[in-house]
């Protein structure tokens, strides 16, 4: 492996603008993590318009910072208020809040920050070693491989997350249909434009992401009854003791590896990594009954794993051009807007961008460690800002922000429409994530499918005759069929028991 571009990446990172945007990104991420309500995907979507005026590498450094910064911030509310700021910090609630009740909130936060730092850093090193290899392997992927890969990626993201699997796939289908709006690149025919000139070039990614994730989430939160929460004003003793560190060192090590591996998988990512890491620690523990009553490992493992996973989920995006989760789909959209072609060539064609973003994560993690140990009190104070005050500010930023992209009032209308759609989707149990992901991959998928069919002269069995696309499609079928077959078998084995239709099973 050639390390010259890796080292050159550091010179990109230390440019003052990039350092500044890295700092801005992690601070915003930390804030978003602390404030319950908007998640990282929504925040990144809302901030898309401001990335237009800046360099691609700078923009992605900032957006990435928001993503992994949120993993740090989410811990704070989980531990102090039992209110997870982020989905990936929900398991931390069990032991983190128990520790806080014993007056050891500082220990929990300190261990979480150190674990996150180690997990993140291990994951960046592993990413540095693995990513060029994966990209090299994917270099000779043709349209059939991309068809299979995109199909599998969308299906995995739709089925692995929480909620109803069928509904998630419906959402993905809607995303694929929305991607067909506009002029057909092959024939030039207008599709689903309803003779509206604004739709001729297709739907823009920005209003869709901002509407579904941003406005949709704000509207959805309007219905929530907020219980008055009392934020503790100070947190003492954030430095964990030597004994605590020794006790959680194993959990941090295992969490790093697990998080890295689970983050790479499409549909995996921080939330599942944190759940699995917690379960593994509990299963390995000599006396598992300590878990839930304030076991330090119960905080260290999930917090390490979610950060490691957040970092490694960049691998499929930056090496294959396939986003592994909703947040990555938004970052993919940001790259497309910047005119960067995402795919296996990114590592060799745009080494500055690739290594700049990857190496900026070292700096980002150091900044976050500083913010979450000595400066944690500052972020605890932010908890006093009421969501009711933040909501209209976010709405206005969204409405005016989307206007600035094309200076178009039509786009404001579009973002409101998608805000309503996003609200309805969440309300009726459809996750917007798969829709956005399918939308960004839609044209790639259709293009490669049509090209493949031309290559195979209309014979769909051609997909199976190529080893890589064949294997991927086989996995695709397995993912569809397994959940249908296993409950049937289980029912036969235990006829008296109800089957388990919920999506919780496949999280394991």
């Amino acid at each position: 492996m050639d390390f010259a571009p890796v080292l050159h990446g550091f010179s990109v990172v230390v440019e003052p603008t990039n350092l500044l945007y890295c700092l801005i990104g992690v601070v915003i991420g930390m804030l978003v993590g602390v404030l319950p309500g908007l998640g990282p995907a929504a925040t990144i979507a809302i901030l898309l318009p401001i990335t237009f005026g800046i360099e691609p590498v700078t923009a992605i450094i900032m957006l990435a910072g928001i993503f992994y910064g949120a993993q740090y911030g989410g811990t704070i509310t989980s531990v102090l208020l039992r209110l997870p700021g982020e989905a990936s910090s929900v398991v931390t609630v069990f032991d983190g809040f128990a520790l806080a009740r014993q007056g050891k909130a500082g220990t929990a936060l300190g261990i979480a920050a150190i674990g996150s730092f180690i997990g993140g850093t291990v994951s960046i090193v592993a990413l540095t070693l693995v990513a060029p290899f994966v990209a090299g392997f994917a270099l000779d992927f043709g349209p059939p491989e991309y068809t299979a890969l995109a199909l599998l990626g969308i299906l995995l993201v739709a089925t692995v997350g929480g909620g109803s699997r069928t509904k998630a796939v419906v959402a993905a289908c809607i995303g694929l249909l929305l991607a067909t709006v506009g002029r057909d690149t092959f024939t030039g025919a207008e599709r689903f434009t309803f003779h509206n000139l604004n739709l001729g070039d297709g739907l823009d990614f920005v209003p869709i992401a901002m509407g579904l994730f941003g406005l949709g989430e704000i509207l959805y939160n309007l219905e929530e009854r907020h219980n008055a929460v009392k934020a503790p004003s100070t947190v003492a003793n954030v430095w964990p003791s030597r004994a605590d560190l020794r006790q959680s060192s194993g959990a941090i090590g295992r969490g790093s590896v697990l998080g890295f591996l689970l983050g790479i998988l499409p549909g995996g990512g921080a939330t599942i990594a944190s759940l699995v890491a917690y379960a593994v620690e509990k299963r390995r523990a000599k006396n598992p009954e300590r878990f839930g009553k304030g076991a330090v490992e119960g905080v260290a493992a999930p917090e390490t794993a979610n950060n490691a996973a957040a970092t490694s989920s960049f691998i499929p995006l930056l090496t294959l051009g396939i986003p592994a989760n909703a947040t990555m789909a938004v970052i993919y959209g940001a790259l497309l807007i910047q005119g960067v072609s995402v795919g296996p060539r990114l590592v060799t064609d745009e080494p500055d961008l690739f290594w700049g973003v990857v190496n900026s994560m070292y700096i980002g993690n150091i900044l976050l460690l500083i913010m979450s140990i000595p400066l944690v009190g500052l972020f605890v104070k932010i908890l006093r800002v009421r969501p009711a005050i933040l909501a209209p500010i976010t709405v206005l930023i969204t409405l005016i922000g989307v206007y600035t992209v094309n200076n178009s009032v039509f786009d404001i209308g579009l973002v409101i429409v998608f805000g309503a759609v996003g609200y309805l989707m969440k309300k009726l149990g459809f996750e917007p994530g798969p829709l956005v992901l399918a939308f960004v991959l839609g044209s790639l998928l259709e293009d490669s499918l049509r090209r493949s069919l031309l290559i195979f002269d209309g014979d769909p069995t051609g997909f199976l005759s190529r080893p890589i696309s064949g294997t991927l499609l086989l996995i695709f079928l397995l993912v569809i069929l397994l959940p249908i077959i296993t409950p049937t078998l289980a029912r036969r084995r235990a006829p008296r028991r109800e089957t388990t239709p919920s999506a919780t099973k496949e999280l394991v």
């Binding site: 024939t187 309007l222 009553k293 009711a388 206005l396 309503a420 919780t504 099973k505």
Partner: protein, 214 residues
């Protein structure tokens, strides 16, 4: 509040807790929206019995704390029908675009395939309607969402005519005072201050050509 949700969510792992076909509609629609602080599901089961599945389930419960109750079967059926209708609509649209053949895919080929899958999934949802518990009921709180949407529509309609300042201040005020239940004075002052800040940033500093009055 939690009774409906823990019932619905527990279906996932501790099977059999709910009789087949029973929908969690036991509670009245209004009872839940007005009830006092929810009892947290986390305190109900002793934590040492926590398996991963139960942990996942609790995660979901925690995320649903403070939310309206689960939707009934009728709402699930309507949702499924809407999905089917959407699929049929796009199916017709794709057929008009030209279906093409496998060796010569046309403009309509791909949307047609996706439409067929959508219709099949919609039919699947129809069959699962009685066992679906992930939708939420539209409660009185949903009116807040309509008000929120209305302020945005007013904003986008008025923007080209009178500029962004007045509609933005109006939006802020409604969200703060009526949706957020902040005080009159705070709402009014904050609305004006926010619009001033937005004006300085977008019009002053960034010179965005957004229609403005002043």
């Amino acid at each position: 509040m939690t009774s409906a949700h823990s019932g619905a969510n527990s279906l996932g792992s501790s099977g059999g807790r709910m009789a087949a076909g029973a929908t969690p509609r036991a509670e009245s629609a209004t009872g839940s929206t007005t009830s006092v602080a929810p009892v947290s599901p986390i305190d109900e089961i002793p934590l040492e019995e926590l398996s991963l599945e139960e942990a996942v389930q609790r995660v979901e419960e925690l995320e649903h704390e403070g939310r309206p109750p689960v939707a009934g079967t009728l709402s699930n059926v309507l949702t499924a029908l809407a999905v089917v209708a959407l699929g049929i609509g796009t199916l017709i649209g794709s057929a008009e675009l030209g279906v093409g053949t496998a060796s010569k895919p046309g403009s309509g080929t791909w949307p047609l395939i996706v439409s067929v899958v959508t219709i099949l999934l919609g039919v699947g949802l129809l069959f699962l309607a009685r066992r679906t518990h992930d939708g939420e009921r539209f409660a009185r709180a949903s009116l807040l969402v309509l008000v929120g949407l209305a302020t945005m529509v007013v904003f986008v309609v008025l923007l080209p005519i009178i500029g962004f300042e007045i509609p933005a201040a109006l939006l802020c005020f409604v969200w703060l005072r009526f949706l957020g239940r902040e005080g009159w004075r705070l709402s009014a002052l904050l609305s004006v201050a926010l619009v001033a800040a937005f004006y300085l940033i977008f019009v002053g500093a960034l010179s965005v050509p957004i229609p403005h009055l002043f």
